[in-house]
Structures are given as C-alpha cells and as structure tokens.
C-alpha cells in the first residue's frame, strides 16, 4: 500500500539558497511529524502537526526553518538562507492516532548545502 512519500529525495543547495521539502503522508493520517537526522545520529524532532494545526515546533533549530500543512494533508518544510550545518536527512512521518499512534516514516530527503 501507499506509504509516506517525500520529494525531492536529494537536494543540493548553495549556501544562502532557500529550499522546500515536501511530504505526502499516508492518506487519512491526522498527525504529521518532521525530524532531522544528521550523519551518524538518530533522528531529532523538529515539529508536529495535527491536521493543519502546528501543535509543537519546539525542535525547529532557528527561525530560518518553517513548516506548514495548510489543508491538513501535504506538508512542506522550508529552510531559508541555508547553512552548511543544515546538511542532513529530513524525515517525515505520519500517524493515524494523535495520542500514541505508531509513526510511519518516509524515505527522507537528503539535503547537502555547499
């Protein structure tokens, strides 16, 4: 069946460019999460949506990071004025249960900032 999809799978950006990463969650999943995974590390929480409401953005590392989910389905993570330290894999996950549902992850977008 259809899982979580993310695009692009790979993105190379020059320092200072803006990037937009897209996530298509599993159909009907109300909860959507973004994580950042640096090389050799475990994923780290960035932000969480329940439907279109962004309920937690405590993990966003700076105000250059912005996420939205305007219609409660597809989400976009935007990074403005990218820096080299932004290079990482960005993972999206979705869940059907906002309380304690299992999070199902997409394949990730690997971002390399030169």
């Amino acid at each position: 069946g259809a899982g979580v999809s993310q695009s692009p799978r790979y993105k190379v950006a020059k320092r200072g460019q803006d990037v937009a990463l897209r996530c298509d969650p599993i159909s009907g999943h109300v909860s959507l999460f973004w994580y950042q995974q640096a090389l050799g590390q475990g994923p780290e929480f960035l932000t969480y949506f329940q439907n279109e409401a962004q309920l937690d953005k405590s993990g966003l590392p700076s105000d250059r990071f912005f996420a939205e989910r305007p219609e409660g389905s597809v989400s976009t993570l935007k990074i403005q004025r990218t820096q080299q330290e932004d290079s990482a894999v960005y993972l999206c996950a979705s869940s059907s249960d906002p309380q304690v549902g299992t999070q199902y992850f997409g394949p990730g977008t690997r971002l390399l900032v030169l």
């Binding site: 979580v4 909860s31 999460f33 994580y35 050799g40 590390q41 475990g42 994923p43 780290e44 929480f45 969480y48 309920l55 937690d56 993990g59 993972l91 996950a93 869940s95 906002p98 309380q99 304690v100 299992t102 999070q103 199902y104 992850f105 997409g106 394949p107 990730g108």
Partner: protein, 115 residues
Amino acid sequence: AQSVAQPEDQVNVAEGNPLTVKCTYSVSGNPYLFWYVQYPNRGLQFLLKYITGDNLVKGSYGFEAEFNKSQTSFHLKKPSALVSDSALYFCAVSGVLTGFQKLVFGTGTRLLVSP
C-alpha cells in the same frame, strides 16, 4: 529530560545465532518505547512498540523486545538471526513531559549478521 542510550555502536552475530540489541531509557512517568530499523537510503521502518500490558512485545520479522521497568531497559531480541537483518536499529521513547507524540531516539546500533 527524556533520553535513550544504545551502548553498542555495532553488534556482530553469526547467522542462526540469537541476537540482542540493547536499549536503556530515562523518562519521567510511564514510557512509550519503540524500535525502528533503517536500511541504507531508506526511511525508518517500525518493528514494535510497548505502550502498556505484557512486558514481552512481539513485532515484525520475528523480533521481540522485553520491557524491564526496574532496569529501565527495552532490549531488542531475535532467536535466530538472518543475514538480511543486517541494518541500523534505533530505539526511541516518548512520555508525558515531551508529549507522547514526540519521539526521542538513540544514536543507533548497527547490526551485522555474518553468513
């Protein structure tokens, strides 16, 4: 603060032998515990979770994990390893302080199963 420790960077086991991947956690209140597996260039795949109830949890691909509250551990086990089990394994915890939706991950353990 909530945290997860995976003390082994790599675990080596021969095919057919039992395997254990260790995980300990620190959390206030009752934990929700998860194991995920990551294959190269792919996202995380859910293996199993402990929410409440029986301390022994069975999951996908023959994996199981035992919740031990006194030792704050949630070790992943499999009776007979396969070469195809070779991958990166992550333990994760959520709890009341950070919100049950936010997973805190360990740094991962690479499992290498030799033929």
